[in-house]
Symmetry: C2
């Protein structure tokens, strides 16, 4: 297949973190989630380990409990981060924090929570070389999942704040002790699909050719 680069670029550039524009009233069929997961697991893993697991939460009580855990971790942090950003004149980050606070308030209303996990929990003294291989074996799949959603008119956001209370979340969902949660993605259809590229500083600022 020849790729239409304008289209694939649009996918990569406009899959934004969607928080305020998730449609809280439109149900998400399981078939759509499964379709996107089938694409996600085509992503690479270190040594072809494929040790991913995906917990999908639709149950209202469990979403409420997850949202409560999320808010416990989020509220103080997000407000402080937003204020700090505003003080240093970083309006984009301040907006992001406002949007994240909105999401925290409404998390239980989002149709589906997706929690990607890895089997095996790296010990605290794991060297960075192995840590990169470990997390590098799940976040490409997570991002593929989000890109696949975007192509279908759905949105999500990569959040990690509930992990502060990972133990409680694992107890709630029956996740075994040796399985590590790595994120929580609220998933829903988006209200409209006209997402734009984010403003970014020129890549020249962050690229080093042959020498730092």
């Amino acid at each position: 297949m020849e790729f239409d680069i304008a289209m694939t670029d649009e996918l990569l550039a406009t899959t934004r973190a969607v928080r305020k524009r998730l449609d809280l009233d439109r149900p998400v069929p399981r078939a759509v989630i499964t379709e996107c997961l089938n694409l996600a697991v085509q992503a690479p893993t270190g040594s072809n380990s494929q040790t991913w697991r995906w917990v999908i939460v639709e149950d209202a009580d469990k979403k409420q409990a997850l949202a409560d855990l999320y808010r416990q971790a989020a509220s103080t942090y997000l407000e402080a981060a937003g204020e700090a950003a505003a003080e240093r004149g970083d309006d984009q980050t301040n907006r992001v924090m406002g949007s994240a606070l909105y999401l925290a308030e409404h998390l239980q209303e989002v149709p589906v929570h997706v929690i990607p996990c890895l089997e095996g929990r790296p010990p605290a003294d794991t060297p960075p070389a192995m840590m990169a291989g470990f997390y590098g074996s799940i976040f490409p799949a997570v991002w593929s999942f989000q890109l696949a959603l975007r192509a279908r008119g759905l949105g999500s956001a990569l959040t990690t704040l509930h992990l502060v209370h990972e133990k409680e979340a694992s107890a709630l969902l029956g996740i075994p002790d040796d399985v590590l949660q790595v994120a929580l993605l609220p998933v829903g259809y988006t209200r409209g699909t006209d997402f734009k590229r984010a403003e970014r500083p020129p890549v020249e600022n962050i690229v080093h050719w042959n020498q730092w």
Copy 2:
């Protein structure tokens, strides 16, 4: 823009780790790398931190030195992993390891090495919640970069083995101590573009609805 789902699915499903089919003779223009990086940095980061840096190595001597470091870490590991996979009848992983050994032998010949980095090095006792936020702020961008390459007829592979000798690699490239390398991607045009989906077990095996 309406997405052509068949096309975007093809991109997500057929961006394979390319090791044996990298064209070692065809140069990669800087403009292509920059184009793909401009897409990569549209990916999300925790708290909108955008603390990524990208070191791009084209210099023959430096690629040789990186390949030597890579081989020091790789050769024993890859052979053992391949044999273990063959013994348990996992032919796919055995093939992957054979392909990885091929790459290790030819790494210095690959036109470009791309090393994504993060500013700030998490201390060893960083809790998993923060570790996920940290690595989750670079691997989506890395994967976007690889997807953008694929759409343009180039290939890459996400490797982490040289990180065993990260310190030596940082010295070679002048990367500051507080900057963490997270991977090394060999990048080149691919010989042919007819990559297929990988065989994967049914996702039903690894998905849990509402309860593990």
